[in-house]
């Protein structure tokens, strides 16, 4: 951060100094100086060119950031996205020679380019452009030499929100001012901030060689405590969010099992493989979209949801018809048979797709995140999975509690003979219910493909978790599964924050063992006669 701040400082200084000079064209010499050579010299050349207010220099800087600049001899070219090239200095169309070399930029150079562009944008006439520039610069620490430009921008600024941002930016500069009153005012201003960069700036001022005045130091302490207090809320929010996010994943992987194991009593060790099949279906759908409808690639996840449900449900139906139907009421045999099936399914996938993980890309609308606070970014894929889990849960709950099909499932699981007597086709219900559970597992697979690896062993890493959730929640209880899933997620993340990932995992397992000993039937135990059935 420090060296970039230095760069930004020089960029600003140059801008202020040269702003008055008349605009002039970028010379080929300048272009080559920016594009090649030692980084120090390149940055100096860049700042001079940008400061002269030359539009071509900004174009070149942007092209450098995009990695579209090529050099041959002492000529600099910008390769357009459409394959056409142009001369960097004049902007005139020019064919890029085949032997032209790519210009490479390291982090430092990119930082300088971004700072130079942001500095130029700070005085733009477009509010949107200025807003991004302010947001960009607020992330870094500034220096007294940039004060003039910030004040100039501040004087010209009309948007109140941006004015506030600029004022805070000015305060980060003035906090190191030689004038004591200015320092005090700046500290007071900064105490309202909730940026993590400000906290580290205040801390640096308090460190050795920073602030010496006792009164200012006290103010700094107070401001730091205030900012930290606000940041702490962000951290708590982040822990809760990550906990819910993990909980929603656990819920999705356990929901299918809550039906097949919870309601039907089938110890289905192949549950994880049904999720894997869902994830692989997502992969196949992705590839189909990529080759057939590349324009609609971003929609592949939506299409994968019903596809994964149907494929997994189909595999589930085959399982039920072929194996499980003969083993009802024999849990040990079911366990062994489904365990064997899980190995068969894994090997089948390995033979079809290879042992290696396959790449499932996030669609663009699931990449990135929304910044809630300066230290809290909520990734879109996590938000989407929480929403997805809620929708699937709602659907399952509705189906079980409110529909005729759900009524039959409940009837058959509670008293098979009575249900049969009143005319329910119990075999058909078994088949449908198992397929439905398998389909839900497939949906879990779609969600997992967006956050983790898709490989033949995908199911194995989640099978234990899903059984844990169902057992802790109480077998046969949908509400228990929900509470257990979210609870284990949040608990795991709270412990992870304190003890690290390895210990947290152990601690959660130990807690579950203790819990199951105290409450063998889980959080929401069935009561009454049906519990023994």
């Amino acid at each position: 951060m420090r060296s970039f701040a230095l760069l930004r400082m020089t960029a600003f200084a140059a801008l202020v100094l040269f702003a008055a000079l008349p605009a002039r064209a970028l010379t080929p010499e300048q272009a080559i100086a920016i594009a090649s050579g030692d980084n120090d010299a390149r940055i100096a050349a860049l700042n001079t060119a940008i400061a002269s207010g030359d539009a071509r220099a900004a174009v070149l800087a942007q092209a450098l950031l995009d990695g579209a600049v090529k050099v041959q001899g002492d000529r600099v070219f910008i390769a357009g996205a459409d394959g056409k090239g142009s001369d960097a200095a004049s902007g005139a169309p020019a064919a890029v020679p085949d032997d032209a070399e790519d210009v490479s930029n390291n982090n430092r150079m990119r930082g300088a380019l971004e700072a130079a562009l942001a500095g130029a944008r700070l005085v733009s006439s477009d509010v949107g452009v200025r807003r991004t520039a302010v947001a960009e610069l607020a992330k870094s620490s500034l220096d007294e030499s940039q004060l003039a430009l910030v004040e100039k921008a501040l004087a010209a600024e009309t948007d109140p929100a941006l004015k506030g941002g600029l004022e805070r930016m000015r305060a980060t500069i003035l906090v190191a001012s030689s004038d004591r009153t200015k320092r005090l005012a700046a500290v007071a201003e900064l105490a309202n901030s909730s940026r993590s960069a400000v906290a580290s700036l205040l801390q640096e001022r308090l460190a050795d060689g920073g602030e010496s005045d006792a009164e200012v130091r006290a103010a700094l302490q107070q401001a730091l405590a205030a900012v930290r207090g606000r940041l702490a809320w962000g951290e708590r929010l982040a822990v809760v969010f990550t906990g819910i996010s993990l909980g929603s994943v656990l819920l999705l992987v356990a929901l299918g099992l809550a039906i097949t194991y919870g309601l039907m009593g089938v110890i289905n060790m192949a549950h994880g493989e049904l999720m894997m099949i869902g994830a692989y279906t997502t992969y196949v759908v992705q590839n189909v979209f990529r080759s057939v409808w590349p324009g609609a690639f971003d929609a592949y996840v939506i299409a994968a949801i019903p596809a994964a449900f149907l494929v997994s449900a189909g595999v589930g139906a085959l399982l039920e018809r072929g194996v499980i139907r003969f083993l009802y009421g024999r849990p040990l045999e079911t366990l062994l048979a489904t365990w064997g099936i899980s190995l068969v399914l894994q090997q089948a996938v390995r033979s079809l797709f290879g042992a290696q993980n396959v790449a499932v890309e996030n669609p663009s609308w699931l990449s990135g995140g929304v910044e809630v606070m300066s230290n809290v970014v909520l990734p879109f894929n996590r938000i989407a999975i929480i929403a997805f889990a809620a929708i699937v849960l709602g659907g399952v709950a509705f189906l079980i509690a409110r529909t005729r099909f759900g009524l039959f499932i409940r009837g058959v699981t509670q008293n098979r003979r009575m249900a049969s007597c009143v005319g329910v086709d119990t075999r058909r219900i078994d088949l449908l219910a198992f397929s439905f559970g398998a389909g839900i597992a497939g949906l879990g697979g779609v969600a997992l493909s967006q956050i983790g690896n898709v490989g033949p062993d995908l199911g194995q890493s989640y099978i234990v978790d899903s059984f844990l959730v169902v057992v802790v929640g109480g077998v046969g209880q949908l509400a228990g599964t929900v509470v257990a899933g979210l609870g284990l997620g949040v608990l795991n993340k709270l412990l992870e924050g304190v003890a690290g990932a390895v210990l947290a995992k152990i601690a959660v397992l130990v807690l579950i063992v203790v819990f199951i000993q105290k409450k063998p039937s889980g959080l929401f135990a069935l009561r009454g006669r049906s519990a023994e059935a």
Partner: protein, 425 residues
């Protein structure tokens, strides 16, 4: 009678043909073992090493083989299961009687097979960067020792161009390589005047896939002081969720750069690399290095991948550092066997000293006369939007390996040479 005679005749014929053909077959080929995980969490990294080893064998065979004999690969899958590595190694040495084994990625798998190789006085070529602190006369380490990768990378992060980092997060998978590397790095950082409160160490289990909390911690740590950098020794397929989370949470390389020691072109396949531009990796080879040897290497790999229909690589061939190390190791072994005129391990070990090979990395790699490690150049690359690396720093020439890191006090006085014990009968 007739039937019995016929039976006898057939069995005699089989026996005769067996007698003739078996020794002929044994004389025709030299068996070479390939011991890489083709399934499990490490398959993401190791599968391709098996393929490149097979390609190298084809290449050597096309030139007439070794000692006039063709090489015959024996491929086994230890499935990312560390004890299984030892079992499979035993099988290769005792049952298949291979002349040398090329394999392992994680240090825990290497530690698991090490006693097997030492007991049987067999040869292992290990192609991956590792933590040092080990030197066996039965192993040739063609990957980097810490001073050929980790230390230069951290030095770069502390330099002006690397962002002048003052605080470090040491993040790794929980096993011997990351733990030892981080111990060495901590000692190194101490020697540069960085205090313990400016170092954060974090570990995750193998196959970990939820990096939200870790990224959150890194952000918090970075907000508590000066410029922070992350040194990642995460291994295997955990890297995919780690980098996805890093991109999604918007932790940019200009704010907190992440330098990785086990992430190359292959591991980044399938990750959207656009948000990751500028994050770093330190290796002794990158696919993007331009020189005729590398162009040739990439070309033969692309053709091989297409011909053998290797998933992924047939459409988008990628090469990486451990692949190069496998390639160098196998060629050097073939050269040493030619020089020794025998596949006897002791003779080959003697002949390995000082072997040279023109490596795709653009330098002539030399096997150190004594310490069983290669002299290798160090490159530091930044991730480009297309998933390739852009070399931003390199050593002027090959660096000699120091398997016993001088930054660990207990290593004082240890010589970088394997201790030769009296050979067991």
């Amino acid at each position: 009678m007739q039937r019995r005679f016929a039976l006898k005749a057939i069995s005699a014929a089989i026996a005769a043909s067996g007698l003739v053909s078996l020794p002929a077959l044994a004389a025709d080929t030299i068996k070479v073992g390939i011991l890489h995980s083709l399934s499990g969490t490490m398959a993401i990294s190791e599968t391709v090493l098996k393929d490149v080893a097979l390609m190298t064998i084809d290449e050597i065979n096309a030139k007439g083989g070794v000692l006039g004999k063709k090489l015959e690969p024996v491929v086994v899958d230890p499935a990312s299961n560390w004890p299984l590595f030892a079992e499979k190694a035993k099988q290769l040495i005792a049952q298949d009687k291979v002349a040398a084994v090329f394999g392992c990625w994680t240090s825990v798998s290497r530690k698991s097979v090490l006693p097997v190789f030492e007991e049987n006085n067999a040869l292992l070529f290990y192609p991956v960067q590792y933590e040092g602190e080990e030197l066996s006369k039965n192993v040739f380490y063609t990957g980097a020792a810490p001073n050929q990768q980790a230390i230069p990378a951290v030095e770069y992060l502390m330099s002006k161009d690397g962002g002048a980092a003052k605080r470090f997060v040491l993040l790794g998978t929980d096993y011997v390589y990351p733990r030892t590397t981080n111990k060495i790095l901590r000692a190194f950082l101490h020697s540069k005047g960085i205090k313990d409160e400016d170092i954060m160490e974090e570990y995750t289990p193998f196959g970990h896939s939820d990096y939200q909390t870790i990224i959150g911690k890194i952000k918090k740590f970075a907000a508590e002081g000066k410029k922070t950098a992350v040194v990642s020794t995460i291994n295997g397929d955990s890297n995919v969720p780690f980098y996805k989370e890093l991109g999604n949470q918007g932790l940019k390389a200009t704010d907190v750069p992440v330098v990785a020691f086990s992430v190359g072109e292959e591991e980044l396949r399938g990750v959207d690399t656009k948000p990751l531009v500028g994050h770093l990796a330190a290796w002794n080879y990158f696919m993007s290095i331009k020189n005729p040897t590398n162009t040739e290497f990439i070309k033969s790999w692309s053709e091989y991948a297409k011909a053998k229909n290797i998933p992924g690589h047939k459409d988008r061939p990628l090469t990486n550092d451990p692949m190069e190390a496998t390639y160098i190791g196998m060629h050097m072994w073939a050269q040493a066997v030619e020089k020794a005129k025998s596949t006897d391990p002791d003779k080959v070990i003697a002949a390995m000293a000082g072997q040279t090979f023109k490596a795709p990395g653009g330098f002539v790699s030399t096997m150190d006369p004594k310490n069983h490690h290669l002299h290798k150049p160090v490159f530091i690359g930044e991730i480009k939007p297309d998933g390739q690396f852009n070399v931003v720093w390199k050593t002027p020439g090959p660096v000699k390996a120091q398997p016993w890191s001088p930054f660990i006090p207990e290593n004082k006085g240890k010589k970088d040479e394997p201790v030769i014990t009296v050979a067991k009968k």
